[in-house]
Structures are given as structure tokens and as C-alpha cells.
Amino acid sequence: MSTLHTLSINPSSLHSIQSFIDIMGETDELLLLANGVYGALVDAKINIPLEQLRDSGKLYALKDDLLARGIPASAPKRATLISYEGFVDLVVKHQNTYNWV
């Protein structure tokens, strides 16, 4: 059974984003939402741990939350942009949802 991980705080306040990534299972995925979408910014050193998920197709970002904050258009390179309906589909796809704190 797999888990959908969500990040809803800015990763720059997460000392240990790596510690969350380290416990993601093979089929788990990660959704960035709310302040978590700053994790989609490519050039921030603090986001390097998230690079591991890039191109794996396992990283999503909520489109509205991204656009609301003026995140540059380069961001989508690192994550698949989805709507709230897409969020619902991800929750259906995975048995569990784990909100990173």
C-alpha cells in the first residue's frame, strides 16, 4: 500500500526534508501545496533534496497555489502541475495520505 506525501509548509523551514524523502516507499508520490509550492523553485539550495524526485514523475504541485505566489514559469520543469480535482485523484490512487510537518 502506498502513501501520498504532501508538503504544505515552506521547505526552507524544514531542517529535515531529507528525512521525509528517505522514508518514501517505491510507489509513493509527493504533492507540493500551500507554502510547500516554494519547493518547486529550481535554484534554491534548500530544495536540493527534492531534486531526487525530479523526472521520476513522482513530484506534483498544486497549480493554483503556485500561480497565486508568482512562482516563475521555470518551476513546472520540476513538478507536474495539477488542479484540486487532480489532488482528489491522487488521494484515491494511494491508500494513505501523510502530511509532512
Partner: protein, 119 residues
Amino acid sequence: MQKKLLFISHKTPYGSFAAKETLDAALASAAFGQDISLLFKGDGVYQLLPQQNSSLLKRKSIGAILGALELYEVNKVFICEQSLLSRGLENIKPLIKVHVLNNLSLQVLFSEQDHILSF
């Protein structure tokens, strides 16, 4: 119907009331006969430091609530090894009996649950 529920406690004992309210929820679900596991992760590991004295903050002791876990037969109590290591707490003697889990064991724990409740 019994479900497998994992409660994850991420917060310091006295910064907010999150630590207390997480344990309250875990104890309630144990009382309701659910198959529960409890994991201390991140800053939640500070809850297990011995010799706390919450009366200095005029607060209830987290230790007292932790002590109730055994009464409710909550035996699957875990702590994240990496969270201990990064906080330099690998040598503490925890307030209650906990099983230290490495990353791989945590992945297994997650994959076995019906629901994860994250506080």
C-alpha cells in the same frame, strides 16, 4: 471493524498543545479498539526526554500521558532513528519503552496502515 491507524507526533512537548492532543487522540482510538501504532518523529522525539518538569510552565506533564499508553495496551510505540541522530539524542534513556526504527522499517510501517493521522 478494526482498522490499522498510525499516529505520528511531530511536535515538541510544550511549544503548543499538539503533543498532548496527539496522545489524547491515540489513547481514544485505542479505547475504541482500533489497532494503533504511535510514531515519534522530528521534534516529537523531544517528548521522550527524561526529567521534564512541566510545572514550571504551569502545564500538564507529557510524561504522565505517555505513562497511560501502557494502561491502554498501546505497545506499538516507535521512534525515528534519524530524528534522534540529527538532534544528538541517540544516547538518551526515553521516558517510556519505544522501538527505534530505521528508514527501511519506517517504510514498512507506513505501507501497512489503513490511515495515517499526522499531527
